[in-house]
Symmetry: C2
Subunit: 346 residues, 2 copies
């Protein structure tokens, strides 16, 4: 049984919804330590650790995590580091969750910057989610960060998502190795010669949902913009379809007949369904659920964390990074150039 | 009557389709000088200037434009600069078209980097297209480039798209002024205090299609990724709806009833419909139609170019830039820092 430290604070729908998510996740044989306010239901499989302090989106993450050791997310992260639980889940501030996890878990050996990976639902039959990273842990990336994201994402995809030899793409503005920002061109060169990874070259924006890649790697600024563009567009198009289906009586009849089939599509595209984002590069499992998560979304996030623990995701990422001669060489070579700044919350 | 220099080479569907587009555009009272191979239909309103040389996507744009003065796009751009026509349209290599236009037209006074602006169709009723720039003229942007894009885009939106006091957003990873890459934060600061522009703060990826902004400004790398992500997602969701509508007999019946309403949505989302991309910051009108343009797409691009000429878009962008004290001051202040490199084709 995996014990998950679940932060009940900070979710848009409040601690009650997170508590309901905890109860829903239990059916999968997970134990939960819930860090939240008094009064949340506990009992069979859910232990409530009463917490009165929390960090929200308006707080500056690094300062808040440093100065508020009793905040729910900080206590939950410490609980994992101390062995009281094996994975951290929160639907609160992404920045605070990343910072608390980074401080409590430390980085995997050799990793300079952890990256936030999001499982992006891909519409259409047989569409497996694509792992997109970094989606906002860092506003900028050096070539070696992009190379590390590629190895971390590939190992995670294989370990937790069950993809055999994941196809890794580097997000850019054209297929040619010469296209893109200087750091992208440099990372392409390293990845093209790296053993232990199936690098399929540059991916363009449209390739995030093309099904041609299992892992798409980019910096946190571009990844965040791409992810939100994708979510916004999917929502806008779905909304326009709904609008079209009420535009006249004939269309309304059609919409009614189509509803069950479209409902399946809507569930595929629901960002809740994939369990949210996961911080890769730290020595522990940390999952950030959508802020707007329903109980089902929280449960999905807990399940994702549980799967990462059971599949030994951290160990396998450590092995992938350590085993990649090319990755290591590139890192060493470039470590000299870079005085390393703090991880920025995006 | 506006005379448009139209490059017949480089389009995915070949010169014949471009010729058909020329004929279709004529109904709007435009004259066309068509730079293409012998045998294309000419006559009433279309003058064929026979050209045997061309530049395609595999050519390095700057080198090709410099070394092939007789290539169709180079001759067409020269024709505009020489006064034989008033606007340039091509469905060929974006890089070659931008380079030929930049060399032949020169930059608007004070502009350091021209930007490629795309009219992004927004789904849903009343969705006006949003102007997104830069979509790939430059892989990177300094703060002053982003500020200039904001003024160029705002003036173009007002002049050519008829938007009164366009709402301008700066693409970033959060609403707060402190979020994003350093150059975005710096540009935000300048724009927040700039007169002559309606700056509404940061826009996130989802805001490109939210309808809350008329102009969204970013660097060419992020803009290109966002645009292609948006196009890819719209296509994938529309495809999944189509798939859902054939998944069983009931859904098929529904799909048939919905078809007319969905057809209107498809036409709204068709990248052909808006006329493509326009290069802002050069002293002439240059429109890049989608490479896959049909005759209708070519005609839309010609109409966009015609509208830009009739509405004096260039003069109005010049006025907007010259009139913006804050913009000018920021430019001067930063001009010292930056030795200016060549424009890169993205």
């Amino acid at each position: 049984v995996t014990t998950v430290a679940l932060d009940a604070f900070g979710a848009d729908r409040g601690p009650g919804e997170v508590g309901a998510g905890a109860a829903e996740a239990l059916t999968d044989g997970v134990a939960i330590r819930l860090f939240g306010p008094a009064g949340l239901p506990a009992g069979r499989g859910v232990e409530l650790i009463e917490t009165e302090e929390w960090i929200d989106n308006s707080d500056e993450p690094v300062a808040a995590v440093r100065s508020r050791p009793e905040a729910s997310i900080v206590r939950a992260a410490r609980d994992v580091a101390g062995g009281g639980s094996q994975a951290l889940v929160s639907a609160g501030s992404t920045g605070a969750t990343m910072t608390a996890a980074l401080f409590a878990f430390k980085r995997i050996r050799g990793v300079q910057r952890p990256g936030l990976a999001v499982l992006v639902p891909v519409p259409g039959a047989g569409g497996k989610p694509v792992l997109l990273l970094d989606c906002g842990a860092n506003a900028e990336a050096r070539p070696q960060h992009l190379v590390q994201f590629a190895f971390l994402g590939s190992a995670f995809s294989e370990a937790v998502l069950g993809v055999s030899r994941p196809r890794v793409g580097l997000l850019s503005v054209g297929e040619e190795a010469s296209k893109g920002r200087p750091e992208v061109i440099a990372a392409h060169e390293v990845l093209a010669g790296a053993p232990g990874i199936r690098f399929e070259g540059n991916a363009e924006g449209r390739d995030i949902v093309s099904g041609d890649f299992d892992v798409v790697v980019t910096d946190g600024f571009t990844g965040n913009v791409a992810l939100k563009t994708l979510e916004g567009t999917a929502k806008a198009v779905a909304g326009a379809v709904r609008e079209a289906a009420t535009s006249n009586p004939m269309a309304m009849a059609g919409g009614l007949l189509l509803r069950p089939a479209l409902g399946r599509l809507r569930r595929t595209l629901d960002p809740n369904a994939t369990g949210g984002a996961i911080l890769l590069g730290v020595r522990g499992v940390a999952v950030v659920a959508h802020g707007s998560s329903t109980a089902a979304g929280i449960a999905a996030a807990v399940r994702l964390a549980d799967r990462a623990v059971r599949e030994r995701a951290i160990e396998r990422m450590e092995e992938a990074l350590a085993g990649s001669g090319a990755g290591r060489a590139a890192l060493r070579e470039r470590a000299r150039e870079s005085a390393e700044p703090d991880t920025q919350a995006g």
